[in-house]
Subunit: 122 residues, 2 copies
């Protein structure tokens, strides 16, 4: 299928698809006229990428998952490297949450100080 169809079926813009390819996450065959030619498997790959990006992964971090799928695994996460990324990501998220909680506390404290009448739930 051509890029337009892949875009439509995955809900990803053609711009993004080319971007993914530019970064080596997607490989497209070319038809004689130079058009990109994708197979059914690519729908899966793109879906995996999107799902991960939506959860906050960077494009780079999706690479192990894509590689994993391409190696024939049923899930992008069933490879050691993917698991590592999962765990790093969990740690990242936890760190971010701690930062936000600390920040929240600080803001709440300052608010309480400068506005004694303001109640802050939490």
């Amino acid at each position: 299928m051509r890029i337009g169809e892949l875009a439509e079926r995955t809900g990803v813009s053609t711009r993004s698809l080319r971007y993914y390819e530019q970064h080596g996450l997607l490989h497209a065959r070319r038809t004689p006229n130079g058009y990109r030619d994708y197979g059914e498997d690519d729908v899966r790959l793109v879906s995996e990428i999107r799902a991960l990006l939506d959860i906050g992964f960077t494009l780079e971090e999706t690479r192990p998952f894509v590689d994993c799928l391409r190696r024939g695994h049923s899930t992008g996460g069933s490879c050691a490297e993917s698991v590592e990324v999962y765990e790093r990501k969990l740690a990242d998220i936890d760190r971010e949450i701690r930062v936000l909680l600390a920040r929240r506390a600080e803001v709440a404290a300052q608010l309480a100080q400068s506005c004694p009448g303001c109640f802050v739930r939490g």
Copy 2:
């Protein structure tokens, strides 16, 4: 005092000080030779800006605080507009935290699924 001294006393780069001024948060008198000339009060203003930026406020959001100080209040947060920003910020942070928690859950779930042996604390 000149910009170098203010930078040193506040721990803020001269680049940043000029940036704050460019965005109307700082006003500097000029000496005859064109150098910026700051007063003691400006140390306070800059400290307020930095403190807020460090807690995750945008430069724009620090404006009410600066204005508040400039109007003679002892604290940047003791004005109605500042309190509003505080509250908006708290809401923002809470929203971000919720997003991260949801994200964390999702990542943990996927990890658990693709790596049944991996334990995830939380």
